[in-house]
């Protein structure tokens, strides 16, 4: 997914003696074509998008007024602050648990998916299965599980974990595939088995990347945990967010909830920055 443009086969070839402008033009043309295509699709879509029976000017004004209510006059509504904090804690715990379950399972699944470790056919099967699971939106998994095992935390945990495993397996496998072949060969040649190779060649090189991906997934899972509470009614801060905005039309409470989430997100970002620093210094 994330590829290094400098490491393509072309850049490894010896430089030509007479530099011609041709390669440059060739590299730019697809970019320009793609951009044009995107702009054309957008233009077409925008012309067909105008809503019937909605005065856009008036709607924009209401929207701005509600934004002001949200951010400048946040206020408690139906629930107490303690209730909202408890719900936020629940949502954080849900995101944390599903991320850790996802990361733990995905590490082992990635080992049997990565092209440089797993047999080819097994890797192909794993990649297809994971692509299939990822293609189904998280919310559908949660709704299905809510129907089967009942509305509640379990449905949310299983549904969110499902998607996390598939996402992280792909990300982890791609990180593992970047381990240089020589490193693996060196250990294999010295008679190290699978687990010793993983332990001494793969793990030290990929753990930083894996941690970074896990952090990214935690952010996604937090957003999903909020959304799942709202759309599937599995509880947490998302449920109150949904009730406040779609039921009571209490935008001041919506604002308070959003601000609580923003404070939490800011704290999380600080932790992420500190972790990255301590990883870089090798501690």
């Amino acid at each position: 997914m994330i590829s290094n443009p400098e490491l393509t086969a072309d850049s490894l070839q010896p430089a030509k003696l007479t530099p011609t402008p041709r390669p440059r033009l060739r590299a730019k043309r697809p970019a320009r074509a793609l951009l044009l295509a995107l702009v054309a699709i957008t233009g077409y879509t925008l012309t067909t998008l105008a809503p019937h029976g909605v005065d856009l000017g008036a709607a924009s004004l209401t929207f701005l007024r509600n934004l002001r209510l949200m951010f400048l006059q946040p206020h408690l509504g139906q629930e107490t602050f303690a209730q909202l904090s408890q719900a936020l804690l629940l949502t954080v715990a849900l995101a944390l648990l599903t991320t850790l379950i996802g990361a733990g399972l995905a590490f082992f699944l990635a080992l049997i998916t990565a092209r440089n470790l797993a047999p080819r056919s097994l890797g192909d099967v794993m990649r297809s299965v994971m692509a299939l699971i990822r293609a189904v939106p998280t919310i559908l998994w949660v709704l299905v599980y809510a129907t089967v095992i009942g509305l509640g935390t379990e449905a949310a945990v299983v549904g969110l974990s499902f998607h996390s495993v598939a996402y992280l397996t792909k990300a982890f496998a791609e990180a593992i595939e970047e381990v240089p072949k020589e490193k693996l060969d060196a250990l294999r040649a010295s008679g190290a088995g699978f687990w010793l190779t993983v332990r001494h060649a793969v793990w030290p090189l990929v753990r930083q990347r894996l941690l970074a991906w896990t952090f990214i997934r935690f952010e996604i899972n937090f957003a999903n945990a909020v959304a799942v509470g709202a759309a599937a009614g599995t509880g947490g801060i998302g449920y109150y967010l949904f009730m406040a905005s779609a039921f009571y039309f209490d935008f001041q409470e919506v604002g308070l909830i959003v601000l609580m989430i923003l404070v939490f997100a800011a704290g999380l970002e600080m932790i992420a920055v500190r972790m990255r620093k301590s990883l870089l210094t090798g501690n």
Binding site: I41, T138, F242
Partner: protein, 265 residues
């Protein structure tokens, strides 16, 4: 007295056990808050698939809904692409104002970064629901919700991409007497076009995935008809929606992987 190597190994071992304990503690802490019934959850994993197989298999009656499903899916893809592209335009301007090599005012950079971080962290549920209140139930609301969600993400991504260009090429062009906009259009944008388009493709993929959820909340597109079928117990039709979503998502993923290869070639 222990030598340096054994001290280091000892320290490493302590860090390793410390991290492992930390992870276990986090899992336990979440479990204390959530009180998940592990047995039920594990049972659910198997039962969920069985249930899907039994109820979600599309039948002949569901095929009658296919035209409507395909139309909504088509609209959803269009809206996702349009929202991402417009967000890309906004994010490009914000990115230029927020990146170190292209923006000289520290205060402006700080403001742009703060704005991007705010936009990124407001839960999209909140965007969807406030927009629904003002703009009512139509595709345009879905478009705006995706747009607002994407601006923050792309702005951060573009700032990082522009930061990676570094001062080198810009200083070189400035030394030849080029104006600010000449530097941007001749030096900076050609260098970042490919990675930026890569980001755009990635966000289009993401937004098509998220469109189901946004659609459920705003009552538009593919998410809305899924919700309609699912809550009306028309599981065969809902299953058909899921199959259609799977096909489109995988198709888009493959297409954008191909495009990315061409871009980076």
């Amino acid at each position: 007295m222990p030598n340096a190597v054994s001290v280091m190994l000892h320290h490493q071992r302590r860090v390793r056990w410390g991290s492992l304990l930390g992870v276990v503690a986090l899992v336990l802490a979440s479990q204390v808050v959530l009180r998940v019934n592990v047995h039920q959850a594990l049972f659910g994993v198997v039962a969920g698939w069985a249930w899907l197989g039994a109820h979600f298999a599309p039948n002949a009656a569901a095929l009658a809904d296919l035209p409507e499903i395909l139309y909504q899916l088509w609209r959803t893809v269009l809206v996702a692409i349009a929202a991402t592209t417009v967000a890309g335009g906004v994010a490009l301007v914000l990115g230029l104002a927020g990146a170190l090599p292209t923006s000289h005012l520290k205060a402006v950079r700080g403001l742009v970064r703060l704005f991007a971080s705010l936009m990124r962290n407001v839960p999209f549920v909140a965007w969807a629901l406030i927009l629904l209140f003002s703009f009512k139930q139509n595709d345009f609301t879905g478009f705006l919700a995706l747009l607002l969600m994407t601006i923050g993400q792309l702005t951060r991504a573009f700032i990082e991409t522009l930061d990676e260009v570094g001062p080198g090429p810009i200083e070189a062009l400035t030394a030849t007497g080029a104006t600010y906009w000449q530097v941007i259009f001749q030096g900076v944008l050609p260098a970042v076009a490919a990675p930026m388009l890569s980001w755009l493709l990635y966000m289009i993929e993401n937004n098509i995935r998220d469109a189901t959820l946004v659609g459920m909340l705003t009552g538009t597109g593919i998410g809305f008809i899924f919700d309609l079928y699912f809550k009306g117990f028309r599981y065969a039709s809902a299953g058909l929606v899921v199959l259609a979503i799977i096909a489109v998502t995988i198709g888009i993923e493959l297409t954008s992987n191909k495009l990315r290869q061409v871009l980076n070639a």
